[in-house]
Amino acid sequence: MSLPLLERAIHGDPITRYTDGAACSANGLVNLRLIPPTPETSSPSLIPDRLPEPGEQYRFHFDMTKCIGCRCCEVACSEQNGTPADQSWRRVGEIEGGVYPFTQRFYLSMGCNHCADAACLNGCPVEAYTKSPETGVVLHSSDACIGCQYCTWNCPYGVPQYNPERGVVAKCDMCHNRLADGDAPACANACPQEAIQIEIVNIADWVADHSAANAPGLPSSHHTVSTTRITLPGELGPELEKANHTRVHPEHPHWPLVFMLTLTQLSVGAFAGLALLRSARPLAAVAALLVAFISLGASTLHLGRPIYAYRALKMWRRSWLSREVLLFGMFAGSATAFAAATMFGLPRLAGIPTMLLGFAGITASAFIYLVPARPSWNNWHTLVDFHLTGLLLGSAFLRALGVDVPAGLIAAFASGQLLNQLLKLLRLMRSDEFELKASARLLSQDLERIFLARFALLVLGGIALTLAGYPIPAFVCALVGELTGRYLFFVSVVPRNMALPWAGGRAA
């Protein structure tokens, strides 16, 4: 990357704010501004006068003592990047506490924190994210992005924003192209209070102690080592809370994923049954295979750019999403071979590799959701939930197709799921963590009826109808029950996020 900042540093001229054309061409640097007619002037203190050296990076500094909550930075960011009105790359949150008249109100203005250990980047299956080696800015490529939105689940600050109009995610890039030109980022430039600045930080020092990235209303910096430094007011009350902490909404249901997860799990469970049970039939194998293909096909509907679904294989060394795609791809191949083999009477134990690939795939699925940014997902219940759905629906499916699956086994799986869900609810309810308690509140208040229906369907399909000898209605009930369960899984999660304005977003 050719940076005029670098050039300035070479020439030892920290004051020059705008590189002139002659100097650029002399150094063979291109793409630099040639015309500086009364350019927008950035206060020199807003950006560093040199480039980061190796082992350093740029970061935001936010001064909470100066911010008056005017939200100029949000508007300036939107104007800078042409973002739709409902997608803010920079947001101003409110925190509040105390008792009148000793009330405390403060604001958090945050773009991307350009973390040292960026969760968005770590999870991305297509390497759409890179961390600039020169500046440390976490960059996102909309060309590489396939719109899987995994980063939006991974970031504990809620920074990456999915733009449905484009089918890709986008986020704050610290206006790195402006920085390269010696201009302050739009937010810093617009702030009337000069509460936002760019600084240089030594990465190793910061990784060792990043406590200055913490503030009331923000998730702990240890999840991702946020690099934003925050200057806090001197006498902060201990009881400061997010002003929006009472506003909890159900999250997006991600319907394609509800179906994809439930049906792949069903298929894996069915293939496990086919591999292990004596009375397996070719017809059941073909049916289970069909379910697998339908569900994997459905999953691409979740993507903003379905045509590039294959790219998701790329980052299998790092991303659980890539691993899921890889393992289910292998599962589908193996299952096809196995289903074909059953027609020619090959031994059913040939299904063992298919089964193992399938369970590995379910495990990878579950690990996608084991992210600190989504606390109600981030526990062993998710892993157990996904596998039990597979075992329950797989066996009920086979039984409905006439395979001789012991009813008691199905009822046991159903009971296991019932127990798992109850234990999870108990965990949510008893937690001190805001996000977990809020999830429990969603399940027991806003989503109460659906939550109860899910239990009823589980008991009815998985246990009552199965034991009573109605395999087809039992399977249908269990399937609807697990689909409902997966729906609740998605909508009842309360993500970690920064504090947001009380008034923004949807009405309660």
């Binding site: 005017c70 009148y100 909309s142 009337p192 903003g304």
Partner: protein, 719 residues
């Protein structure tokens, strides 16, 4: 939607691309301008200089003008998105005449003929005063000047006022009473140099954010904020005074009492430049710290400390806005504030000023020129000398110059109820949302024979009720000048053409004058707003607001020029007959509608930084409206508990007059127990259904800030 997008081949990359703008630098390609127009912001009275980027005839970007002395390149969020107001969907495009309840597009000629015929018929039948006119603080000064002549001399009605009476009339009246003339004596620069700054009922962080930037430059000042609500501004204070509602007069009197008691007054200044000191001194004896503490709810030590700080300050600044003005004692509160400045001689020096921070972008221009509360150039109706002078300047018989003010805005509305007003012309204001006690306004409108609404936006809640809608150009589509709170006259320029058949208010006024047959007499040879400005320069010559040395060009070049210089009254000579300022003994009275068992809560109303007035503009700017999409009601947790209300409940605010339903509850310690707060921007949940018809007897400003209400959960039925 195209299939390429659905498949993911197309990510609208071009639409979201970036480019180098020669001025702004690297920026979204959609915001790259081909030229920039310098102008002044059209929202509030801070009067920020801005540059609007235009590409292919469309405003695409805005930036603060780094050379403008007011804002030095910074803008608030409304200013930063102001170019979007020029492309909103709800713009008035054609004259619309209502026939059998439906609007029909008509020609300008037909519209204005109808309007003048109807107005004339009403005036012939019911007298000239049966026509009322309510204007605004949004026009350019040249238009205010033109409109004043057209109404008072052309139509011959005195019943003409501006919506500025809902806003800063108390400051005007207070200044006139204390100093003999309107005109805020100080400058924003005082915020940077004062060593004590007292803000009373002024939430500048929400309403004038750029003044916070000026304030921030002052590192040594002690900032004292008096407000019943813990506003964003209160959080900036070194000392926050959580006063009880409407106890500001007691606070000010209490401070004055301590200053006199401890000899912290400027006896020399009082002797030379004021009258009424002895009466005031006697009157203030009862405002002991104990009494003041009991009225304000503040600890005695705090009152003593604040008085010491003010009394010992080298330069003390008092700023106020609507917390003071929106009161039945608004003008008197301003007098009490002026007392404090006069007693200590904190006036006419750098950093020392009693300073009214105004509301609308050109409320000040209307104060100087508009011919509503006075004759143009701060001349007085009552003064035969002033009347003779203005008659001579205009070359009209002095008998045509009114010798008294007509009805003020609220009196025009009540006049319609009493059928004294039969026709009404409303210009660039939205009383259906902004006028207190909506039911009264509704009844008044129902009585009218003809209602003309001239506005840039249609439909809006008021224009929908009109018989005739005149589509006007708005900020950015016309040329002229604005005066800001610090008397700085700044140039406003045309950026784009108005939509459809919309015309500038100036052109509409001249066309109406032509229909009326007074154009040649009142506006001889005029073709554009510059003609009005040139005449105004002559008319203002020698007055306090003297424009005679200014030209449009010199104003533009200087980034605005303050009439009267950086501050007024440097020599201690005031605009009164004897040249002395008047001290007033101001009683602190309780606000008119005290809470009781049935209506136990005190309702306070105000603004939020994202919105402007009744949202005809900002409601149409997607990002602003998205940031603040609906109203809310702030209530202390202790009250919420008593009422068994939970955060985000939909509640109704019920007063003796009417109710507002379906407001989202914010349970918060921002407000004191017993008090609630609601923003007034939202037509959908209009808090002015609950506010009362109580007006300052001097300024006629409504008492928006306190009335008694109850709050209950909104039942499913009533929404």
């Amino acid at each position: 939607m195209n299939w390429k997008r659905i498949a993911g081949l197309d990510t609208l990359a071009e639409q979201y691309s970036y480019a180098q703008d020669p001025v702004k630098g690297y920026v979204s390609a959609s915001k790259v301008a081909d030229h920039w127009v310098a102008t002044t912001c059209g929202y509030c009275s801070v009067g920020c200089g801005m540059l609007v980027g235009v590409r292919e005839g469309k405003a695409v970007a805005v930036r603060g003008n780094p050379a403008h002395p007011v804002n030095l390149g910074k803008l608030c969020p409304k200013g930063l998105s102001e170019h979007h107001t020029l492309q909103t969907k709800d713009r008035a495009r054609n004259p619309l005449l209502k026939r059998e309840g439906k609007f029909e597009t008509v020609t300008w000629d037909h519209a204005l003929t109808t309007m003048v015929d109807k107005f004339r018929a009403v005036q012939e039948k019911w007298g000239p005063g049966a026509l009322g006119v309510v204007s605004t603080g949004q026009l350019v000064t040249e238009e205010f000047y033109t409109l004043g002549k057209l109404i008072q001399l052309g139509f011959g009605t005195r019943n003409y006022d501006g919506n500025t009476t809902l806003c800063m009339a108390s400051a005007v009246a207070g200044y006139k009473r204390s100093f003999g003339s309107d005109g805020p004596p100080g400058s924003y620069a005082d915020l940077e140099t004062a060593d004590v700054i007292l803000l009373i009922g002024a939430n500048i962080a929400d309403n004038h954010p750029i003044l916070c930037a000026r304030l921030q430059k002052n590192e040594k000042a002690t900032l004292i904020v008096a407000d019943p609500r813990v506003t964003k501004t209160a959080m900036l204070a070194d000392i926050f005074l959580p006063v009880k509602p409407r106890s500001d007069i007691a606070l000010i009197n209490g401070i004055a009492h301590i200053l006199i008691r401890d000899g912290l007054i400027n006896s020399e200044y009082i002797k030379l430049h004021t009258t009424g000191f002895d009466e005031l001194k006697t009157f203030l004896e009862k405002f002991t710290p104990e009494h003041t503490a009991s009225v304000t709810g503040l600890p005695i030590e705090t009152i003593e400390r604040v008085a010491m700080l003010y009394g010992r300050a080298k330069a003390a600044f008092i700023g106020w806005t609507m917390g003071v003005n929106h009161s039945t004692q608004g003008a008197e509160t301003v007098n009490a504030i002026n007392n404090l400045a006069l007693l200590t001689g904190q006036l006419g020096r750098p950093g020392a000023s009693p300073f009214s921070i105004t509301g609308q972008c050109n409320a000040m221009g209307s104060r100087e020129t508009s011919f509503t509360t006075g004759l143009p150039g701060y001349r007085k109706f009552e003064s035969s000398e002033d009347r003779a002078e203005i008659a001579a300047l205009w070359n009209v018989p002095v008998s045509r110059i009114p010798d008294a003010r007509g009805m003020a805005y609220p009196d025009i509305i009540e006049g319609a109820i009493a059928k004294k007003i039969r026709a009404l012309w409303i210009i660039a204001t939205n009383p259906v949302v902004s006028f207190p006690n909506y039911d009264v306004l509704k009844q008044a409108f129902g009585n009218l024979e003809f209602l003309v609404v001239q506005d840039g936006f249609h439909p809006n809640p008021t224009s929908e009720l009109a018989d005739l809608v005149l589509p006007a150009a708005v900020w950015g589509e016309k040329e002229g000048t604005y005066t800001n709170s610090e008397r700085r006259v700044s140039k406003v320029n045309k950026i784009v053409e108005p939509p459809g058949a919309a015309k500038s208010d100036f052109d509409i006024f001249l066309a109406v004058a032509a229909k009326l047959g007074v154009r040649d007499e009142l506006f001889p040879g005029w073709t554009g707003p510059r003609d009005a400005f040139e005449e105004w320069r002559k008319v203002s010559s020698g007055r306090l607001c003297d424009y005679s040395a200014m030209t449009w060009e010199s104003i533009e070049a200087a980034g605005g020029i303050q009439w009267g210089g950086e501050r007024l009254y440097k020599d201690g000579q005031f605009q009164t007959a004897d040249g002395r300022a008047k001290l007033f003994a101001i009683e602190c009275e309780p606000f008119p509608e005290q809470p009781n068992q049935n209506f136990p809560l005190i309702l306070n109303t105000g603004r939020t930084v994202e919105h402007w007035h009744t949202r005809t503009k900002t409601g149409n700017v997607a990002i602003l409206n998205n940031m603040s999409p609906r109203a809310w009601l702030e209530m202390n947790p202790r009250d919420a508990k008593k009422l068994d209300l939970k955060p985000h409940d939909k509640v109704s605010v019920v007063s003796r007059r009417s109710r507002v339903d379906g407001v989202e509850l914010r349970v918060t310690e921002i407000v004191a127990p017993g008090q609630i707060f609601m923003p007034f921007h939202f037509a959908e949940t209009n808090v002015n259904r609950a506010t009362q018809s109580a007006f300052d007897p001097i300024s006629r400003e409504p008492n928006y800030k306190q009335c008694s209400v109850k709050v209950e959960r909104t039942s499913e039925r009533s929404v």
